[in-house]
């Protein structure tokens, strides 16, 4: 069991934020605002901590000469160059933005394109690996949504573009989405209560 001091702090701050929401008192609102701003600063430091952790992990790989360590070496070098250039010329430098954009956007877009090929391939193999009703439904739904998303080349199939696809997107998908959102909301509420009660201690306690 971790120190009860951290738990007490978490519960106290959670209650103060709740009071700022539900009690129309200026003091509570000011406290809530202040605590929220502290969270922004802490989140920024969390990004820096994440960068530091990433750097440490890859440096460890380089030191141990683990498999693929040269990728880690490339990452460390790229990080160092971007950080140094960014600190020198500033983040608003157009050249820096182009260089960064020329690297990040094609890479990530290429990964998404690969995903498209993979999804097509998986969908082809799905019926072979798992032939059941749900698989068929899944495949059929996906095909219908894709066909109804945009007009087909050379022709527009209204029933697909304006009936089937909107129906699928606005009824079953919306139902599922709302259910998902409600579930997320309930889960978030429950998680907040558990944190306030000290049952969950995502800040390090068990």
């Amino acid at each position: 069991m971790k120190s009860p001091f951290a738990t007490a702090i978490a519960i106290a701050f959670g209650l103060l934020v709740l009071l700022g929401y539900f009690v129309p008192v200026l003091a509570f609102q000011l406290i809530r605002q202040e605590i929220t701003l502290w969270a922004i600063i802490l989140a920024a430091f969390a990004v820096l901590a994440g960068i530091a952790n990433l750097l440490a992990v890859h440096l460890e790989k380089i030191n141990r000469r683990q498999k693929g360590y040269y990728y880690s070496l490339l990452l460390v070098i790229s990080l160092a160059i971007a950080a140094i250039v960014g600190l020198v010329v500033g983040p608003q430098n157009p050249s820096l933005r182009r260089w960064v954009g020329a690297v990040i956007i094609p890479v990530e877009a290429g990964l998404m394109a690969t995903l498209a090929v993979t999804l097509v391939y998986a969908s082809i193999r799905l019926l072979r690996r798992r032939l059941d009703m749900m698989t068929v439904i899944f495949i059929v739904t996906a095909v219908l949504v894709l066909l109804g998303l945009v007009p087909l080349p050379f022709a527009e199939i209204g029933i697909l573009n304006y009936i089937i696809r909107p129906f699928i997107a606005h009824v079953p998908a919306l139902a599922g989405a709302r259910g998902l959102l409600i579930g997320v909301a309930l889960g978030t509420l429950l998680t907040g209560l558990r944190i306030l009660f000290g049952a969950d201690r995502p800040y390090g306690g068990k």
């Binding site: 922004i40 007009p151 573009n161 599922g176």
Partner: protein, 934 residues
């Protein structure tokens, strides 16, 4: 002028005086000096006195000859006096060598302790074992002394009645002796004739003594008597300087001096004492009797005539010694006896132990009580109280009347036997005595009882004398003999009252005081050889009287021979008081170890109290518990059992298929882009969300401040840029001021890229038309913080043209989120849009929130549009194309529409074809499996 102090009264006398001018005691010894005195702890010089064996008394010879003693009954060892008539001393040859009767005792002691009688063993060890003395108290009646048995046989009723008659006691003393005493008298005469030391003693004393009685009993006993009469306040003798003036012969008792003289000296002495030689014992015996009668205040019959003179004087001279002490305050006695007389602790000793004393030692006991008597009550040197006179001499007329209530046997015994003998039978208990006459044990001889009673009366402590005494069954005079050296100065005679342990205690105190007061010289001059062996280290510091033990619970050790008793270790005889009492309480009463104390008991600590309870081996558990146990057992067994690896069906790696798919999609998407064709028809129907978004933009005021949130990743930047470009273009067309904020780290970069690639034609300038505020960390918290206080959530904005961000034209009038005319969220994830709707929605104050989302996030975020929280939405490339179509400004979205449509169609086609092929393959596989081909 040199003076010599009398060893008896300690008064100064002229140097050449032979006898004391005051007490007539002999000052100059009859023998030559023995040399250096023997100090305590030193071994006496061994002397060859084997030639004197025949002249010794029987009891001494028995002590010296344990082999012969072992043949005798045990009782005989306790009663040595009955052996006097058997071997007259006159028959023994007298040697010319120095007489040392006790020298062999010490040698024997060194050789073998078994041969040492108890009283000598006690004296040597200096500690009387309580266990050894207890048998004397608990002895049974049948252990009567043989000499008493002989007395009953020898005495005739006539003699007894004559001896007990008061008239005869006064005038026929010495003539009406019992037979055994007559024999004893004869033997004594013979011994006087043959023993120089007896002759010397009697002759010398009678010669120089006015009264001629006190000193007739032998010098050594007289000295002993006088020494024990030292008052309690007696001061120690002066240092050795003064004692050096006394001749060395006076340092030793006369009797011991006589033992050391040579035969020539004894002959000379015999010539110097013609009266003694002529009168024999008769004279001194008669004198002793007369003295006893004269000194008695009451007409008590005295049977002192029945004893040898040296014995009778012991009892008769006790009052005389008291009187002598009272009249002479400055009597100088040997210090070691004087110190012993000062011990007050012995005054509390009960009387019941005195019965073990022999008669002749009882006289010593009476003497020891004399110092406690007040001086004014004893004006005469030889006055005696009635208690000091032996009862058997002075109370024959009273005793029968007092014993009348007792049994007839007692009456007969009182009539036939002497009182002391009748009392010794133990039949009649001691009658109630007046306050000044304490109770005397009935088993004591009358004369001894009288002495005890008189002594108690003199001390003025009747309460001690009234303590009921237990009948004494055994006259263990040997055991009580050591007590002679440790007599207290008051109360009842320690000889009669002290237990051996107390004697040892008194001896220890005496030795301590003797050493403390530097009287070693005086101590050593009177120390006999056998007494010199007493070592202070062997004397215990404190010994208390052991508690009496019930006779029935004990095996009386009195029946043990003396050599067995002597084998007992000295250490065990000197325990502390608590240990002694505890040990007696723990004495075993049965078994082979009966009579021993301190034995580990085989008690409950070693024996189990009860049989151990038997427990059933069957497990007592109900069904649920057994079920749970079985489940746990299965789980544990399952963990240990090896799980066979299921061989997965080999999936054919269709790398070629992947490349085919990649190629088809590449062609399907790339060819329309390269061909710049428009074969895909534009949608004729537009979604409501897109139309609402366009209307919201249209509703924005001129030069409206719009917060544009970039919350999508670079991977979906192609779709997002195509979907958002018509809306942003519309805003720019409307002249909106754009405040660009990103909730992702890459958001600012994508925002700049977006503006550069899609809105370059608007010529928007940073700081003037738009401002890239950068990255807002914190997720929902950051969004919430920015929504409620934007300036504090993003306090530092890049300065453009030297102007701070919040003071630029874009943000100059922005203080809160509601100051923005619209908030447009560009996000590719449902969570991103959700956060802004939930956290920033309440702070919008009715201002529209629009969203441009990817096709994948649209189903999740659509509910917010349906609920009205989001005024308009552009969903994906299709939404962008629709917005361009509605806005009549074809752009990127329509341009991408052929490639996007062709790519979706090809992908769906491949999925369908591939799915069918997979389905057929699966069907064939299952068919083959069913046919057994696989």
């Amino acid at each position: 002028m040199a003076e010599v102090r009398c060893p008896m009264c300690s008064k100064p006398n002229p140097e050449n005086s032979v006898s004391c001018q005051y007490c007539q005691a002999r000052i100059q010894p009859l023998t030559a000096p023995l040399g250096d005195p023997i100090h305590p702890g030193e071994e006496p010089t061994k002397k060859s006195t084997s030639e004197l064996e025949p002249v010794l008394p029987e009891w001494l010879r028995k002590v010296r000859n344990p082999e012969a003693e072992s043949d005798q009954p045990d009782a005989s060892t306790d009663m040595p006096l009955d052996r006097f008539p058997e071997k007259p001393p006159s028959e023994q040859p007298v040697e010319e060598e120095p007489v040392d009767l006790l020298s062999r005792l010490t040698s024997q002691d060194a050789d073998d302790d078994e041969e040492i009688p108890d009283w000598l063993a006690n004296m040597r060890t200096g500690s009387g074992a309580p266990a050894r003395q207890e048998p004397a108290q608990a002895a049974e009646p049948q252990v009567q002394a043989d000499w008493l048995t002989d007395l009953r046989q020898d005495e005739t009723p006539a003699e007894v009645s004559a001896a007990s008659t008061p008239e005869n006691e006064g005038g026929q003393i010495g003539g009406d002796l019992p037979g055994w005493l007559s024999d004893l008298e004869k033997e004594s005469r013979k011994e006087e004739e043959s023993l120089p030391w007896m002759a010397d003693a009697t002759g010398t004393e009678s010669e120089g003594t006015p009264t001629g009685q006190a000193e007739e009993s032998g010098d050594w006993l007289a000295d002993l008597k006088s020494e024990t009469s030292v008052p309690a306040d007696f001061e120690p003798a002066p240092p050795s300087g003064q004692t050096d003036e006394i001749p060395g012969s006076t340092d030793l008792p006369d009797w011991l001096s006589g033992l050391t003289t040579e035969s020539a000296a004894s002959e000379t002495l015999a010539e110097d004492q013609p009266e003694i030689a002529a009168g024999g014992l008769t004279d001194w015996f008669g004198q002793a009797d007369e003295k006893a009668v004269d000194s008695a205040p009451a007409p008590e019959p005295g049977s002192d005539v029945d004893l040898p003179g040296w014995l009778s004087n012991l009892g008769a001279e006790a009052p005389g010694a008291v009187a002598a002490q009272a009249s002479a305050d400055s009597v100088e006695l040997p210090d070691w006896f004087g110190q012993s007389a000062e011990q007050p602790e012995s005054s509390a000793v009960p009387l019941q132990e005195t019965g073990s004393l022999p008669d002749w030692l009882s006289g010593l006991d009476a003497e020891s009580t004399a110092p406690a008597a007040p001086a004014d009550e004893k004006p005469s040197a030889f006055d005696t109280t009635e208690g000091a006179v032996p009862d058997w001499m002075g109370q024959p007329a009273q005793e029968p009347a007092e014993m009348a209530p007792d049994t007839a046997l007692t009456e007969d015994a009182g009539a036939v036997l002497p009182d002391w003998l009748a009392a010794s039978m133990g039949e009649a208990p001691a009658p109630a005595q007046p306050a000044e006459q304490p109770a005397i044990p009935a088993d004591l001889p009358d004369w001894l009882a009288g002495v005890t009673a008189g002594a108690a009366a003199l001390t003025g402590e009747p309460e001690q004398a009234q303590v009921p005494l237990e009948p004494q069954q055994e006259a263990d005079w040997q055991a009580s003999l050591p007590a002679a050296e440790s007599q207290p100065a008051e109360a009842v005679s320690p000889f009669m009252t002290e237990s051996p342990a107390e004697v040892d205690s008194a001896a220890a105190v005496f030795l301590e005081r003797a050493s403390a007061e530097d009287v070693e010289s005086a101590f050593s001059m009177d120390m006999p050889d056998w007494l010199s062996s007493v070592k202070p280290t062997e004397i215990p510091q404190a010994v208390e009287t052991p508690a009496p033990v019930d006779e029935g619970d004990e095996i009386s050790p009195a029946s043990l021979p003396s050599w067995v008793q002597a084998m007992r270790p000295v250490e065990s005889a000197a325990p502390d008081a608590a240990g002694a009492v505890q040990g007696e309480a723990d004495v075993l009463t049965e078994g082979p170890l009966a009579g021993l104390s301190g034995v580990l008991p085989a008690g409950p600590a070693f024996v189990p109290g009860r049989k151990p309870q038997a427990y059933a081996l069957k497990l007592q558990a109900d069904d649920d518990q057994q079920a749970n146990a079985a489940l746990l057992e299965r789980i544990v067994a399952g963990e240990t059992e090896p799980v066979p690896l299921t061989s997965s069906e080999l999936v054919l790696s269709v790398r070629v298929l992947r490349w085919v798919i990649f190629g088809i999609l590449l062609l399907a998407v790339g060819l329309p882009l390269l061909a710049r064709s428009r074969f895909t028809p534009v949608p004729s129907l537009f979604p409501d969300e897109t139309l609402n978004a366009r209307q919201a933009v249209i509703d924005l005021p001129e030069n409206a401040a719009v917060l544009l949130i970039f919350g999508y990743e670079a991977s979906l930047s192609g779709e997002m840029e195509a979907a958002a470009s018509p809306l942003v273009d519309h805003l720019m067309l409307r002249g909106a001021r754009l405040a660009i904020l990103s909730t992702l780290p890459n958001g600012p970069l994508l925002a700049e890229r977006f503006l550069a690639r899609t809105q370059a034609g608007h010529n928007y300038q940073a700081g003037e038309h738009y401002i890239n505020m950068g990255y807002l960390p914190g997720g929902p918290a950051g969004v919430f913080g920015f929504a409620q206080w934007p300036a504090r959530a993003m306090p530092v904005l890049p300065a453009l043209g030297g102007v701070p961000g919040w003071q630029s034209q874009v943000l100059q009038d922005i203080e809160s989120l509601s100051d923005f005319d619209a908030v447009i969220v560009l996000t590719d994830s449902a969570e991103g849009g959700q956060v802004w709707v939930e956290q920033a929605g309440p702070f919008m104050a009715g201002k529209p929130m629009l969203m441009v989302v990817s096709a994948q996030a649209e189903p999740v975020l659509r509910p917010y549009f349906d609920s009205g929280q989001v005024k308009g939405m552009v969903s994906g490339l299709a939404g962008g194309a629709a917005y361009e179509t509605v806005n009549r400004s074809p752009g990127m979205a329509i341009r991408y529409l052929d490639g996007f449509s062709m790519g979706l169609f090809v992908a769906v086609l491949m999925i369908v074809i591939g799915g069918l092929w997979s389905l057929i393959s699966a069907w064939r596989f299952q068919r083959a499996r069913a046919a057994g081909e696989v």
